[in-house]
Symmetry: C2
Subunit: 197 residues, 2 copies
């Protein structure tokens, strides 16, 4: 079996979770030369307003496109964090929007207030998903900032390019800060201390 | 095993195939009370500019979300028609955009010029995908016009609601005409005659 990396994105309806999945898949799949499958599921469980989007990356053709044990979980609200954290691989990466995720199930999560950043720095709460994509670009080696920017600009409405580029940059900056804090905590070996909360 | 219905949408990059898949999945999954999975795959084969989007509908939880033998193939260009027709179930439904699909592999296809309708009647070629969704709404019992309209309006940019509603209606009308022609041909038992070409 070849290389396989699974990402799950979760949040509430209206947070732009599905667009995130598509942009992420396009950034990785089209620009970076890997095989990528992107899936969303709708069903009885989705009717509560939850939204879930998955991206699977491989160096081979992807036969099974659903995430079984995600390597990376991005949770944009508390419910998706609670629902999906148990599926995460033991050494998997958890990124949460700390605007809405008040209780992180692990102190090792990257806790970044994507929605607050979008609201206060970009003056448009709706770009919180693009801020999160910026952070994801910084926190994983899966996709370059250049490929992500191209993918974002290929999917957002005309006239919003500058706003979305700024959102991406704000997310990258916030993730750099979170990484710095995370490393400092790790160095101090204070595992029980919550990071960036 | 329960009920399972598979749809594949294919076309070239820029024809809005992925948006079609998402809108279709949302129309069926959220508004009609079934389980729906929606997938796109990117890989070496996608880099030629082809775009493929799949929707799988079931009355049970969907474990395998990819289409194996589609019940319905919508081909927006010749290449996707040629590539995907061999996978279609023997009694499956083929719908093609006859603006670009000049050679249909079967006379039983619904051949409707979605892009020409978008260009000439709506004056915006980019809504060809919404015209096609209108036709699909008419040609299959999977989704009601009302649910489809709600799903379309939930995904298109603000300010384009009227255009997209008109595109949907134009697609429904075109499909009604195609069904009428198809029935007439069937009645005449002229299987060898191409329909609506």
């Amino acid at each position: 079996m070849g290389y396989r990396y699974e990402i799950r994105l979760g949040g509430s309806g209206g947070q732009g979770i599905i667009l995130m999945g598509i942009v992420l898949a396009e950034a990785i799949g089209i620009h970076e030369g890997k095989s990528v499958a992107q899936t969303q599921s709708y069903g009885p469980e989705a009717r509560g307003g939850s939204s879930k989007s998955e991206v699977v990356i491989s160096d081979e053709e992807i036969d099974y496109p659903k995430a079984m044990k995600p390597d990376l979980l991005l949770a944009m609200n508390q419910k998706s964090c609670d629902d999906f954290y148990p599926d995460l691989k033991p050494d998997g990466m958890l990124i949460v929007d700390s605007t809405f995720v008040r209780q992180s199930p692990t102190s090792k999560a990257f806790q970044i207030p994507f929605t607050r950043i979008a609201r206060e720095k970009l003056k448009r709460e709706m770009v919180a998903n693009i801020v999160a994509l910026g952070a994801l670009t910084q926190l994983t080696p899966l996709v370059s900032p250049k490929a992500m920017e191209a993918a974002v600009l290929g999917r957002v409405p005309k006239g919003t390019e500058t706003l979305n580029r700024d959102a991406l940059k704000a997310g990258i900056r916030a993730a750099k800060r979170a990484m710095k804090e995370w490393k400092e905590v790790k160095t101090d070996d204070l595992d029980a201390v919550s990071v960036g909360g």
